[in-house]
């Protein structure tokens, strides 16, 4: 019965289904991690420019300071048009930093290269706005201190 149901999908429909499924798989750990870290987590944040899959809203704790929004867009396959679209959606939805979440390390490299290969004359320096990673990298890097943080603790500095 279920097999019949599966067969009734046309090829593009089946591909779209698979894509949605893999996006859900990529999203799940990010939602969980955002909640664990105490951020406000918004799924499919959209001000009108199209959905940003996950957004973590960081509130600096003072009314006079604006909220910071970290947006996650999941990409299941590499293409320049999907990068263009993702960056557009994030910027136009007022996301402060964008993270592309991809399923494999190979794809991470492809997207990083595409973003860094922008011409010098471009008004945007996307490498300052976009980070690319896999969910496993995100999880495994939890708890590892950055170089600056290490330095400051070694020199007795205080992280404010």
């Amino acid at each position: 019965m279920s097999q019949q149901g599966e067969n009734s999908y046309s090829e593009p429909e089946r591909r779209a289904q698979e894509r949605l499924q893999s996006i859900d798989t990529l999203k799940a750990p990010i939602i969980q991690m955002g909640r664990d870290m105490g951020y406000e987590v918004i799924e499919n944040h959209d001000l009108g420019a199209g959905p940003v899959h996950i957004t973590w809203v960081f509130k600096p704790g003072s009314e006079s300071l604006p909220d910071m929004r970290l947006g996650f867009i999941c990409l299941t396959e590499f293409s320049n048009s999907s990068i263009n679209e993702g960056v557009a959606r994030a910027m136009l939805n007022l996301i402060d930093k964008l993270v592309f979440v991809v399923p494999t390390e190979t794809m991470t490299k492809e997207i990083k290269d595409a973003i860094e290969s922008m011409p010098d004359s471009s008004i945007l320096q996307l490498r300052k706005y976009v980070t690319v990673l896999t969910p496993s990298t995100l999880v495994s890097k939890q708890g590892i201190r950055g170089a600056r943080e290490r330095e400051s603790s070694e020199t007795g500095g205080e992280v404010i």
């Binding site: 199209g50 136009l92 595409a114």
Partner: protein, 205 residues
């Protein structure tokens, strides 16, 4: 496809007529740009790049219907094309559509996207155009376009509010502000006009 070719030829001719260096199907690493005009403003200054991207009606990725059927191109397509141009290092990205209605719709959507207050002002970079366009493609807000009309409308609104205020005040309030003379005149009129017809005539005689 034929419509797209026609658009491109007109754009290429127009650029060459103006003496610009014209590139066709340029690829700078972010996807194809149909036509690029390299404008040499001055020897001392870098070239200014105008890019033209033809927006097609087919929804290639999702196998959906044509979104040109109702002269509306999707936001997704507009965003993608504009950022393709920005990532390609273009100074201006013009989105070329089949007809005037679609061009206006694209410009309107760009304005709308820009109105959210993003870091990047999309309307300062991108605009919708159609091949036969002769007049300015910049959308002028109605306040600037018809300032007189706006004034008239507000004047009428004020007048209407004044009238409303005059005739719809609660009765008690109106009486308080009435002078003795006005009160007498009002009562006299009321007396004259409220009597049955026959009686009035009789009094008049």
């Amino acid at each position: 496809m034929a419509a797209q070719n026609m658009n491109l030829e007109r754009l290429i001719e127009a650029g060459e007529e103006k003496g610009f260096e014209v590139e066709q199907n340029a690829e700078y690493g972010a996807g194809p740009v149909d036509v690029v005009w390299n404008i040499n403003v001055h020897r001392a200054l870098p070239n200014v790049k105008f890019g033209f991207i033809v927006l097609g009606g087919e929804e290639e990725q999702q196998g959906g219907s044509k979104d040109t059927d109702d002269n509306q191109l999707s936001l997704r397509k507009i965003e993608e094309a504009t950022f393709r141009g920005i990532r390609s290092g273009l100074d201006k990205v013009y989105l070329v559509t089949e007809n005037e209605e679609m061009a206006k719709s694209v410009s309107g959507k760009i304005e709308w996207l820009a109105s959210h207050g993003s870091l990047i002002r999309l309307d300062a970079i991108s605009l919708g155009l159609y091949p036969d366009q002769q007049e300015s493609s910049v959308i002028i807000p109605s306040q600037k376009r018809v300032p007189e009309g706006e004034k008239i409308r507000k004047e009428k609104e004020r007048e209407r509010e004044e009238k409303f205020d005059r005739y719809n005040r609660p009765q008690g309030e109106r009486r308080d502000k009435e002078s003795e003379e006005e009160k007498m005149e009002r009562e006299l009129k009321f007396d004259e006009n409220s009597r049955p017809k026959g009686q009035k005539k009789a009094l008049g005689d």
